[in-house]
């Protein structure tokens, strides 16, 4: 269980960053977005999502602001900072290289 969590944590970060790339969204919307985009293949553990958000905010990759959802309710919105954008690019690239490498290894000889 611990291993899965660690892997997921690293991947979760880049997914969340990507979710925020298009503009400010609240936590719930991030979860929905990831689930929709992955065609429900990736189930986000919601608690982990929020710890990821808070962690990345401390690192200065994202910033938050309270606002109103489209149903009029009060919600906390997150968006990328300049550093966050850099991280997104960096981690996206790393993930692509990683997945390419693993795929190559697993190819039938």
């Amino acid at each position: 269980m611990a291993d899965d969590l660690t892997l997921l944590q690293g991947t979760l970060d880049v997914l969340v960053l990507r979710a925020l790339a298009l503009g400010p969204v609240h936590g719930y919307a991030v979860a929905r977005w990831i689930e929709d985009r992955s065609r429900d293949e990736l189930q986000i553990e919601e608690g982990a999502l929020y710890t990821a958000l808070y962690r990345m905010e401390r690192r200065g990759w994202i910033e938050s602001e309270w606002g109103r959802s489209d149903t009029g309710r009060r919600a906390k919105f997150y968006q990328l900072t300049a550093a966050g954008r850099k991280q997104l690019a960096l981690q996206t690239d790393r993930w692509a290289r990683y997945s390419r490498a693993v795929t190559r290894v697993l190819q039938p000889a």
């Binding site: 609240h26 719930y28 608690g47 710890t51 808070y54």
Partner: protein, 884 residues
């Protein structure tokens, strides 16, 4: 926690709740029951409480708050340490704080005063467009033809003057109130004066043209202060009647709060054009007026002056040449108000700058010495692991603490001394400008102090923190070369301080001598045990001369009945009174020619006296006798008897040099011939500093003036006499307010006030600078002695006596003092002319001041040297050697 900002825990709860609600809604939309949906949402989330706990611990703002608290704690630590260190050296700390405080306080207070008087604009809209006009008069109803430009002419020049107004002030009237009559300060203003300056009544209105005529109802505008004090701020004040000099006036308006222009007026009356005797009621024998105009757009003061000059040429004739230049005719209004105080204020500002300079030099010296002494401590702390940043920050905190403390003291001193400075400002300006501690100046002074502290506290601090640890500890904290440079620098500072202190000391000496001369001037009367009081017999009750005679006779009788009262008299114009309102006319001896040139004519003060005036005042009768009032005229067919007059010595000398003037006759203007029956001594009536004018006195016993000053002399103290005078008046007529009831010595003191004040200020600066310089000398010598303990120890061991050591130190210090004094003398000599206009009876190169000051300074420097020198000489040589 919540006072620090948004409630973090609640926000986290809100955020999580939002998520769960959205999730539940989504499930409901998919067909689940609401209760089940909520339950499932929570399940799906994971452990809500664990997550909540984690989030709370890791929230970024919390992290920041913790960091901030840490920072604060470090800072507090630094402050506590710094404060402890400062308190450990109370002498040093007190010295720096006091020096800074004095410098900042003096600079701020003085600059605020100068700013209020000279720099700040008057509180009128576009006050820079206002000019004071000279050489233009007001129409008098008795004038037959126009001999000079009048205000109406200026109104007819709208291309030069947007509007023109005039005022006459200060005058006085009695306010008739049951049981407590008061004397009010009155100003007469033309209808366009308020519009010209741009300030209008807050309630009601000003004056309208109809009120300019003789028959109009009498109207008055009140000041805000009077409205509050006397009428309790009555909201229905407009329309109320007030009694002024026994006549009813209707209130038509109230001026805004704080407005009392001109001359701290309590009420304003309309000034009629042409004006007549009625308008002169609040004044003595003439109408003291001023014109003020607002320049039309685009017109300069010089252009206005030129146009006025052209206008004046129309009235110039051979025997009435114009005496004003074009430039003098129109001057910025502010300059008119400040008058001749400008120089005094600027000189004082210069002195303040010097004191500030000395203060900064002193602080620098103190900080340099401290830095040197702390080197070993810094080195030790560096060894124990303190970073350079930390060390520098430590010293910075200490320096700032000092700067703040000094600044706080300075602020307190500034506020305290502003009250005293208020008296420096010209009286008319007091009605306009509020003298407050100027925020900019305070900020400026604080800035200077902080900057000085930072530069001279930090620079050695940087040096100290960089110090080679081993060296520092080995040499006991003081390296040879470093200390030599420091020593030289410090000595240079002290020389500068001494020089500046000397300049101020010379200035002080000059002012003190000047004051001494002033106070010992022969005034011409004997003010001891003399009291005076002013009265205005207003109202219909005193319309007849007989009624006034009765009053004054009753007054004299009652006063003389008081045991201890020797003489009682009256005069229309009390000598040395503020705002002296008397008139003088040209007079010449019978049989001689009146010189055509006005400057060669003799103008004599027209004075009327009653009772035993000369004896009461102590003015000696030198020849002849006192004047008698003209006897009542029963037979008007006979020519009127010649009025008797007494003249003063100057008059006699000018008109009949070398002869006995008693029995001779003289012309008084175009009016009449008078005969001299006696000669009295000269009196400096106008100002302490001006020569006495020619004076002539006639008797008013038969027909006393309404407005007089009563004088009484006795064996009682002047204060007691004054009290009796007031009580007697009230006993005779409870509705007459006596005013200016005071000993004659108070009148004289008041006349000397501007001088005394200037002297007091410069003396204060001088003393402060002297003290600062002494502290500086002490500091440098103490430091030098501390440095040379080894040397002294060796000398003592080799047989030198304690006194030899002391003499050595004194000699070196004397050298410093002499250099400083020499520099200072050169400086004082160079700027001596600056102070010239503030002096009286003393030249700016007065030998006494220039000799006493250096001697005083050298003496002070030597005393300041003696203390540390003696303490050095007292230590045993063996102790000194062992210290190493």
């Amino acid at each position: 926690m919540s006072i620090w900002g948004p409630d973090i825990e609640r926000e986290i709860d809100d955020e999580l709740r939002f998520h769960l609600e959205m999730k539940a809604e989504e499930l409901v939309a998919r067909g689940m029951a609401p209760d089940t949906a909520r339950h499932v949402a929570r399940e799906r989330f994971g452990s809500v409480d664990d997550v909540r706990r984690w989030l709370r611990r890791h929230d970024r703002r919390k992290q920041r708050r913790v960091e901030r608290v840490e920072h604060m704690e470090t800072l507090l630590q630094d402050i506590r340490y710094g404060a402890r260190k400062l308190f450990a050296q109370p002498g040093f700390t007190a010295a720096v704080v006091i020096v800074l405080g004095l410098g900042i306080g003096a600079a701020t207070a003085m600059f605020s005063a100068v700013d209020a008087a000279l720099l700040r604009s008057l509180p009128f809209p576009h006050a820079e467009r206002l000019v004071g006009i000279r050489g233009v008069g007001l129409p008098f109803f008795m004038s037959e033809r126009q001999t000079m430009p009048l205000i109406g002419d200026l109104r007819g020049m709208p291309d030069v003057f947007e509007s023109v107004g005039a005022y006459a002030a200060p005058g006085g009237l009695n306010l008739g109130v049951e049981g407590s009559p008061q004397r009010l300060r009155v100003a007469l203003v033309t209808t366009d004066l308020f519009p010209t300056i741009g300030v209008g009544p807050m309630i009601g209105r000003g004056f309208v043209d109809e009120e300019r005529s003789e028959e109009a109802t009498r109207v008055v505008v009140l000041s805000h202060g009077l409205w509050q004090r006397q009428f309790g701020g009555d909201p229905r004040i407009v329309g109320r009647q007030v009694q002024l000099d026994g006549r009813p006036y209707e209130v038509v308006g109230v001026m805004p709060r704080g407005f009392s222009f001109p001359s701290e007026s309590d009420i304003w009356l309309p000034l009629r054009e042409p004006f007549g005797w009625e308008d002169m009621r609040p004044f003595e024998q003439f109408l003291p007026h001023r014109l003020i105009a607002r320049l039309a757009p685009g017109v300069t003061t010089l252009e206005a002056g030129a146009r006025l000059h052209l206008l004046a040429q129309r009235f110039v004739t051979d025997d009435r040449p114009s005496t004003l230049t074009a430039a003098e005719r129109a001057t910025p209004f502010r300059d008119q108000l400040v008058g001749n105080r400008r120089t005094a204020l600027l000189v004082l500002l210069g002195a303040t700058g010097l004191v500030l300079l000395v203060a900064c030099a002193n602080v620098t010296n103190l900080l340099l010495s401290r830095a040197a002494a702390r080197r070993s401590e810094m080195a030790l702390r560096a060894t124990l692991g303190a970073s350079r940043v930390r060390l520098v920050r430590q010293l910075l905190v200490e320096t700032l603490l000092l700067a703040l403390a000094g600044g706080a003291l300075g602020v307190v001193l500034a506020f305290a001394s502003l009250g005293a400075l208020g008296a420096l400002l010209p009286a008319t300006l007091d009605g306009l400008v509020e003298l407050a501690v100027d925020g900019r100046v305070l900020a400026f002074s604080l800035g200077i102090a902080t900057a000085t502290g930072l530069i001279f506290g930090l620079w050695p601090a940087l040096g100290a923190s960089r110090t080679n640890v081993a060296d520092a500890i080995r040499s006991g904290g003081i390296t040879a070369s470093g200390s030599r440079d420091m020593g030289r620098l410090r000595r240079a500072f002290v020389v500068v301080e001494l020089a500046i202190a000397l300049m101020l000391a010379v200035g002080t000496g000059l002012m003190l001598r000047s004051l001494q001369q002033l106070l010992s001037t022969e005034i011409g009367l004997l003010p001891e045990r003399v009291a005076t009081m002013e009265l205005s017999l207003a109202g219909a009750r005193y319309d007849s001369a007989a009624a006034r005679r009765v009053f004054f006779e009753s007054l004299r009788e009652r006063l003389l009945a008081v045991p201890g009262v020797e003489a009682v008299g009256m005069i229309n114009d009390l000598p040395l009174r503020e705002n002296s309102g008397g008139i003088s006319l040209t007079m010449w001896a019978e049989g001689s020619e009146l010189p055509a040139d006005r400057d060669a004519q003799m103008f004599a003060q027209m004075l009327d006296v009653g009772g035993d005036y000369f004896r009461a005042m102590g003015i000696p009768l030198l020849r002849g006798r006192l004047p008698q009032p003209p006897p009542a005229r029963t037979d008007t067919s006979q020519p009127a008897p010649i009025t008797e007059a007494v003249i003063n010595e100057r008059f006699a000398r000018l008109q009949w040099p070398g002869e006995n003037p008693v029995g001779k006759r003289f012309h008084v203007g175009d009016f009449e011939l008078r005969e001299v029956v006696g000669v009295v001594g000269d009196v400096r009536a106008r100002a302490l500093t001006s020569e006495p004018l020619a004076q002539q006195y006639t008797s008013m016993d038969a027909s006393p003036y309404r407005k007089v000053a009563v004088v009484a002399r006795g064996t009682l103290s002047a204060a007691t006499l004054a009290r009796h005078m007031r009580e007697t008046v009230v006993a005779i007529d409870g509705e007459l307010p006596p005013f200016n009831v005071r000993p004659m010595s108070a009148v004289i003191a008041a006349a000397a006030t501007p001088w005394r004040l200037n002297t007091l200020l410069i003396t204060t600066f001088g003393v402060v600078a002297l003290v600062l310089a002494a502290v500086g000398v002490y500091g440098v010598v103490a430091y030098g002695v501390a440095q040379r303990r080894r040397e002294f120890g060796i000398r003592r061991a080799l047989g030198a006596q304690g006194t030899d050591v002391v003499r050595l130190v004194l000699r070196e210090s004397a050298a410093l003092a002499v250099i400083g004094v020499a520099l200072g003398l050169a400086g004082a000599w160079a700027v001596r002319r600056v102070i010239g206009s503030l002096l009286y009876g003393v030249t700016p190169s007065d030998a006494v001041a220039f000799t006493a000051a250096p001697l005083l300074l050298i003496a002070v420097a030597l005393v300041a040297t003696l203390l540390p020198a003696r303490s050095a000489a007292r230590v045993e040589p063996t102790v000194m050697m062992r210290e190493q």
